[in-house]
């Protein structure tokens, strides 16, 4: 049974998988990073299709918009080019690695696929992923862990300033 949602998911998933293959396949660091950007972006769109708006937009803000920009910033600053010598000689470890990868994929897939086949409804219900619902849950049920994490992040910020700034 092919629904529009299914087609959309198929396209997004294909792009996402292709991008994540590109991350490891490209020699040039900047192209790998760009593939990662694309992968994160497609992942965010996948979250949108699953009705998880807030999660999706956080993905874009945090990963695509902030972390990957810093990645690119560093790659550009160091001007890391393509590593050509990595490709030069044959290595039996590649074959073993590939086989292990396929094996892992089969193992995970054999466990996941039967369980996933019974799912027809591909999006969360109602206002499950809205900022209101998430905010309400965060500030009622999980308020203590939430505050702990924010204090932890503050400590992290102060610590990084302390490390970066030699003389106070």
């Amino acid at each position: 049974m092919i629904t529009p949602e299914f087609v959309l998911f198929g396209i997004l998933a294909a792009v996402g998988v292709a991008a994540s293959v590109g991350v490891v396949a490209f020699n040039s660091a900047i192209r790998s990073a760009l593939c990662l950007v694309l992968n994160f972006f497609v992942l965010a769109v996948l979250y949108f299709t699953l009705n998880a708006q807030f999660l999706g937009i956080t993905q874009v803000v945090v990963y695509t918009g902030a972390i990957m920009v810093l990645f690119l910033f560093v790659i550009m600053l160091l001007n890391i080019g393509a590593e050509h010598f990595l490709n030069e000689k044959f290595d039996y470890k590649r074959i073993v690695g590939l086989a292990a990868g396929v094996l892992l994929f089969l193992m995970v897939g054999s466990q996941l696929l039967p369980a996933l086949q019974s799912f027809n409804h591909v999006s969360a219900l109602g206002d499950y992923g809205t900022p209101q619902a998430i905010g309400h849950t965060l500030f009622t049920e999980y308020v203590i862990p939430f505050e702990c994490i924010s204090v932890l992040l503050l400590v992290g910020v102060v610590g990084s300033i302390l490390l970066a700034k030699r003389k106070m």
Binding site: S28, V37, I57, V61, G65, V69, F73, M76, P131
Partner: protein, 448 residues
């Protein structure tokens, strides 16, 4: 007639409706770009006491040519050279396209497209009239967050262009731009967060609706535009500065500072690719302008007057009702005019302000705007809590009054604290650090 069209539209499939909304919006922001370019050149020239482009579109018939007798020797000028952008466009598309040989070709050609994407995507949440089935393109719950997220993607176009050109100036421009965008995003987010807190929603449509409420919660015939409230005004000023920085416009145009970096990240771009960058810049300016108008200046409302309330409660009801109808049907023109005013503000700023130095840029963003926006956010939270508590304990009017008094008191306390801090350590005021240049002594240079 209108009802039939509405009926026909609402019966279309959802996807088609969304597509129509998107096409209308893209036309809305894309079609006026030549007008903006012409207006920038013209207004800038007037501000600088020049004439500016005034030739394109003028026709002069020769006295001896084959023209009809009544046209011979006559000359016609088109309105203030308004066809200039058309000539610019033809020139750009018929010029030889140069690309540097040693560039990363794929990324080099990708960059302009990447720069254009966020410019078109940001506006999807901005309502340009009160017809909810036509606008905005997507009325999503995450509203403002979506805008911030997509605008943070804008840095990619600049960074990729800077990297792939294989040019030191481009690279420096790209680096400057990424640092600048990351720094000013935070203050922009904080200033919008204050308004989101005051509104109680992230949706821009809810923000417009909240601004149509009674002024200061009390005066019912005036709308409560966010810019009229103390915290809203501060948030607006912060947003204004941040949006100029986000669009890389003067005085924040360090990524393309022509006196230092040739043209910054787009040095190596010519013809159509360069046009795409320019287009992205103008569309971005317009979108950020409209967002600022929507969040702070009452959206598509022409005047901060509640026509419906006046029609029901004031003498001369029919007149107010008629004005309300005009507001309802011409909302999109009002919205466009407001966006155009913001563009004019950008141009005015460009004509007035000198470019910031890099350290000034960073200290303005991190030491001035971000703390100010954060304090502003806290004041909004305080105002909300105090108003809600006092409303419960001693009635609506007292609650509103006490809320505003608390805001003013908090503002005064913050100002006094700021002055005290400045008095304690005058050197660290932040904005205009004096910077000395040590000239190298030529004699010592020779010995060393």
């Amino acid at each position: 007639m209108a009802a039939e069209i509405a009926h026909w539209f609402l019966n279309l499939p959802d996807v088609v409706q969304a597509l129509i909304r998107a096409i209308i919006w893209v036309l809305f922001i894309f079609a006026p770009v030549p007008l903006f370019i012409w207006w920038e050149r013209k207004l800038l020239s007037w501000m600088q006491d020049r004439i500016g482009p005034n030739r394109v579109g003028s026709v002069t018939f020769s006295k001896r040519g084959k023209a009809p007798a009544f046209l011979k020797g006559k000359s016609f000028t088109v309105f203030y050279g308004i066809l200039q952008p058309l000539a610019d466009g033809i020139k750009s598309f018929s010029k030889e396209d140069l690309a540097p040989n040693a560039s990363d070709k794929f990324v080099y050609f990708l960059a302009p497209a990447v720069a254009l994407f966020p410019a078109f995507a940001i506006g999807a949440i901005v309502p340009w009239a009160s017809w909810r089935s036509l606008t905005p393109v997507g009325d999503v719950d995450i509203g403002v967050l979506y805008m911030l997220a997509i605008s943070s993607l804008g840095v990619y176009g600049v960074v990729l262009a800077g990297y792939s050109s294989n040019n030191k100036y481009s690279l420096l421009g790209g680096l400057r731009s990424s640092a600048q965008l990351i720094s000013y995003e935070l203050s922009m987010g904080m200033s919008l967060a204050a308004i989101a807190l005051a509104t109680g929603s992230l949706r821009l449509t809810d923000m417009v609706q909240a601004q149509e409420g009674p002024f200061y919660g009390a005066v019912k015939f005036i709308q409560n535009w966010n810019v009229f409230t103390p915290f809203g005004f501060i948030a607006w000023v912060i947003f204004l500065i941040c949006m100029v920085a986000e669009t890389n416009r003067a005085p924040f145009d360090l990524p393309e500072a022509e006196s230092e970096l040739v043209a910054g990240y787009n040095t190596e771009y010519s013809t159509k690719k360069w046009v795409l960058f320019m287009m992205a810049e103008y569309v971005n300016m317009f979108i950020f302008g409209t967002v600022s108008v929507t969040v702070f200046w009452g959206g598509y409302n022409a005047l901060p007057v509640n026509w419906e309330y006046l029609a029901n409660n004031a003498p001369g009801g029919a007149v107010w009702a008629f004005l309300g109808q005009i507001q309802y049907w011409l909302a999109f023109l009002v919205f466009f005019a407001k966006g155009f005013a913001m563009i004019s503000f950008y141009i005015w700023l460009r004509a007035t302000m000198p470019r910031l130095r890099y350290d000034q840029l960073m200290s303005l963003g991190w030491k001035t705007l971000l703390p100010l926006a954060t304090v502003n956010f806290m004041v909004v939270a305080l105002w909300l809590v105090v108003t809600a508590l006092m409303k419960v304990s001693s009635g609506d009017l007292i609650g509103i009054l006490v809320g505003w008094v608390v805001v003013l008191v908090a503002g005064a306390v913050i100002y006094v604290l700021y002055r005290i801090r400045k008095a304690i350590s005058p050197g660290e005021s932040g904005r205009l650090e004096p910077r000395t240049i040590t000239l190298v002594d030529p004699n010592k240079e020779a010995t060393a």
